[in-house]
Structure formats: C-alpha cells, structure tokens
Symmetry: C2
Subunit: 331 residues, 2 copies
Amino acid sequence: MREKGRWAKLERIEKGRYDDKLSHCIRLHVSRGINMADSRRVLVVGGTHGNERTGVQLIRRFQANPQELERGSFKAETLLANELAIARNSRYLDQDLNRCFSDLLLNNKPENYEQSRAQEINKRFGPKGANSQTDWIIDLHTTTANMGVTLVVQQYNPMALDMALYVQQQMPDSVIFYEDNAADADPFLCSIAEHGLLIEVGPVAQGLLRGEVFEKTRMALSHALDYIDLQINGKVRLPSRREAEVYQFIEKLHLPLDENGEICGMIHPDLQDKDYQKLSPGEPIFILDTGETLLFEYPEAVHVAFVNEAAYYDQAHGLSLMRKRNLSWNG
Amino acid sequence: MREKGRWAKLERIEKGRYDDKLSHCIRLHVSRGINMADSRRVLVVGGTHGNERTGVQLIRRFQANPQELERGSFKAETLLANELAIARNSRYLDQDLNRCFSDLLLNNKPENYEQSRAQEINKRFGPKGANSQTDWIIDLHTTTANMGVTLVVQQYNPMALDMALYVQQQMPDSVIFYEDNAADADPFLCSIAEHGLLIEVGPVAQGLLRGEVFEKTRMALSHALDYIDLQINGKVRLPSRREAEVYQFIEKLHLPLDENGEICGMIHPDLQDKDYQKLSPGEPIFILDTGETLLFEYPEAVHVAFVNEAAYYDQAHGLSLMRKRNLSWNG
C-alpha cells in the first residue's frame, strides 16, 4: 500500500509554491521522487469501447498471463471497462463510456448503464481528482482510421508527455496526439488516475482483430509499462528540457449532410488514409454521393486525424483537424 | 406487365425435355428469348445487412436519381431490405436476414423481425420458386476482407453466370465467387427472383463509407444493369460455350478457440488481406493471442476468401476455403 498520509503532507507543505499550470504536476513529480520505494497502482484498460476488440483480447491475454504486466517495481492490474458493450460487440449501450468521467460522476441518479459503470469504476480506481488511488491508467483503443500507433495525452501532464516521448523513442513511427483538456472538464476514463495515456492503433475495423494492430498495441503498452518502471527507479534518460512534435486537436468536421441532416457524402479518396498529413485550403476533402468533389475551406493549412473513423458517423463527424507543433516541458 | 400465362404454357410444353440440372435455366432462357419485348422487373437491394453502409447509401442516391437505374428496356426498382437494422447500424436485429429466404418463408408464425421481413419482401417481390414476379435481384454488400469486387453467383444459373462474366469483362480485376446451392435450399435474398447476383466489395469497415468501394460498387452494378439491357435486346456478345475462372466455396474455418469456446487467436499476418491467393498445407494460417503460429493442416492446397470478415466473428469463422476452377456453361 502506498503511504497516502505522507504524500498528502508533502503536498500540503509545497502548496502555494507554484502558481502556473505546471504546479500540480511538478509537485507530484517531486513527491514521487521522494517516494521511490512506494508501490505504484497501474491499471491497463480494454473495452472502454465494446467493439474495439484488440484491447479486449489483450486484456484477456494478460488475465491469463499476468506476468506480462509485471515490472520490477509494480504489477499492473487489468479492467474490461464496458462489459455489456463488449458482450454485444457495440461501442456502447446508451452513451459513450469514455465521455462519462465528468460531472456525471457526481450525479446521484445515473441515467443509464454507462453513467452507472463510470461511477463504479471511479469508486474502484479513482476518485477523480487529487486523491486518486491510481497512479496510471493506460487505456487501449483502436480506430478505423490509418493512424498507426497514436499516443493520446488528454491533458497537459508532464509525466504523461514523458511516457509518450519515451514510447515514441522506442517506436519512431508512433505519433503524439495532444489535447489540452482542463483536468476537471476531461471526460475520459484515464482522467480518474493521476496520469493517463490512451493508446489508439489503426486501421482496423470494429469487432475485428488484425495481427499487426494487436502486436503494435501490445508493444506500445509494454514500452509504457517499462517507462513507469524506469521512472520509479529514476532511470528515465530524457533531456531535462523535453521537446516533442505533437499534433494538437483543433476541432472535428462534419461529413456532408443533406437538408434532412442525413450523411450524403464521404471522405474524398485523395484524403482517405492520409492521417497526420497536411490538408491545405482548396484541396479535396469530401465527395458527395453524386460524385461531386468538395474542397477544403479553412483559414489555414492543418493536419488531419481520425479520417473516416466509423464511430464518429453517429454524430456525422468525418475527421479531426490538428495543428502540428513543438511542445516543450520540463522534466 | 409480363405475360405470366404465356410463359407458364411454354414451360409446360417444354417440360420433360431436359433432365439434367440445366433444364430449368435453359428453359427460362428459351422463353426469355421469345418474350424479348416484355418488360423486366429488376430490383436493386441495399442494406440486407444494416451496417453495410455502401449499399444503403447507393440506394438512397438512386432513390433521389432514379434515372441512373433506367436502361432502354427497363427501370430498376430499389429496396432497403433490413430497415430496422439500417437504423441501428447493425448487421441484423435477431437473425441474419440473408439466411431467411428458405423454408422460413413458409412459417406461419415468423419468430422474429427478420423472418417477418423476409416474408414481406417475398410477398412483394417473389414468391420464391418458378412464379416469381421479379426477373433479377442485384444485392449490394460489403466485406471487411480484401476481396475487391466479387461477383457472387449463389446457384448454378447460366444467366447469372453470364451477367458475372459480362461484368468481369468490363472490370477485369473482379472475381467470380460461385456457390453451388440447390435452388430450394438457397437462403439468400437473391433467391426469390428468377436470377440473382450479389455484389460484394471490400475492404471496408462496417458502418463506414469509402470512396473507392462506393464507386466500384456503383460501377459493377451499372455494368450488371447494362447486361440485362443487352440480354433483353439480344446484344450480349459472349461465345456460345462460356468459360470462366471461378472460386467455388468449400467450407468456412473457425478461428482458434479456447476451452470455453472463446476466440483466442486471429488470422496470421502473412495471410491477412490475401483473399483469393493460394494457401498450402504447412503455411501459417492463425496466430494465437500468445503469439504462437498455427499452420494450415488440410488435405490439399486451396484458395482463401472472406479472410477476417468481421461479421463472421459471431460464429467464430475466420475465413472461407475456396477451390479455383474453370466453369463452363452453354449460353
């Protein structure tokens, strides 16, 4: 068991010494340094979306072979997050579970299965906020988009960025996808731990296993666990001023819709599978059912991700626009 | 309206003149030749599987632009077959609709939505058997497997084979997939018409549109409709002894299963996306979750199709084994 009282005390002593957005993370970082010998609680999650089978199958493999999740300094636990959706091979029953770790956690009367399940998970592994029982959540996802190995950091969190950078060093084709969510507003499952990383691998159809996607996911997770072990032992080798090329989320764009709000077009073949490539104003973006090409109208050139993600058809979203930038932070 | 009585009479006169399995088809062929001026009832179907979005979207396009389905000699009708499954973006609700056009049509008390919907479709466009109102059904499907444009002929039917051969002449990369179902036992929607062709295009994830899959499907359908028009006008240019290379269905193989009957492996990466290629005994076929490779054990080399079709995970089927052969028939 980790010594919660001692940490709380350290945090109290340091309180007020930092006033920028880094304060919380640096504080934790410092306290972790002092508590190297503490055991860490690390959780690996699959099936947050019930039809993303790779994560589900990996969790089952780890449950049968728990030694794969052991490192010198910890043994990671496992969770199949949306059990009913997994059984139905659907993304969710009533609501996307991975959007329920928000104010909905405080709702006295959960309105559906996912809201109720989020509260259960939060109770078992959270609670969301400064006193979480869980140090790390690594959540395994897949996409129908051609995004390769994508390391999604959902909040500004130097340790999560360190983890992503470390994994990227081991898997140079992987990409860091950065969302600048405020901690309180972040609705993702990872947000109930002190640090989180979402590993998103594609392309693979929903409900399906592909060998190379399975293996890449397993490798990225394995490197992420190695990072935690190295970090606990003070052996991470990264420059004190970290720097990474990241893709920062701007917004999602709708697919073409007709006057009834029905989807009446699709991603243009020239853009299909071009995740993380540049899209400039005037280039083809959509093709209508009738064959007509629509061009991208936007004030700037951007990069693209989640190009033709099946799960986003629910809300008729066709792709995400991203800004490529250099992000730096202190280790 | 086509003169049903006259056809029936011709068939009666000719009855007994053929005793091989070609008799029915040749007889129809002859009678069609005589009735060239009759209008033909042609039905184009999408959404027999509710999450195969390409067909659904094409049908909606045709409903908005019916002139695309007109040829000199007929105007094809359209049908969205499994309406509730389309609304839910699922393959089916209770049972695969495309397996319900069998003895289930005779069931006085349909047991679920799909059985009831099959009876409704059979009443409107059948009935299955010698007296169908519908000459042709062309049913639009997609697959997650890398099968390109596949022209599925589900029974021995020379006119359907002619159509497939004609489409293949226009689209040389397309493949003829042949199943030798007995007419009565054939449970597919196409089987309620006198002739049918199922157009299966992939790879595309369920619930998703991809531009090139959409366009290939539209082109294959368009050539199929052209064939009907040419055939009615006696202008099909095919040798009197037709010959085609076809892939004939042998059987489906299960994915690796554990002692609880759960899937515990997947298609081996060396075999993934290799639809229609040869698989010889001793070659890798599956990889277990644990990383172990399983080799193909079979008495002969075969070809493969539906390699990693998401819809077949329900029954834990991993691929179909096919025999490549030359099929010949008389025009």
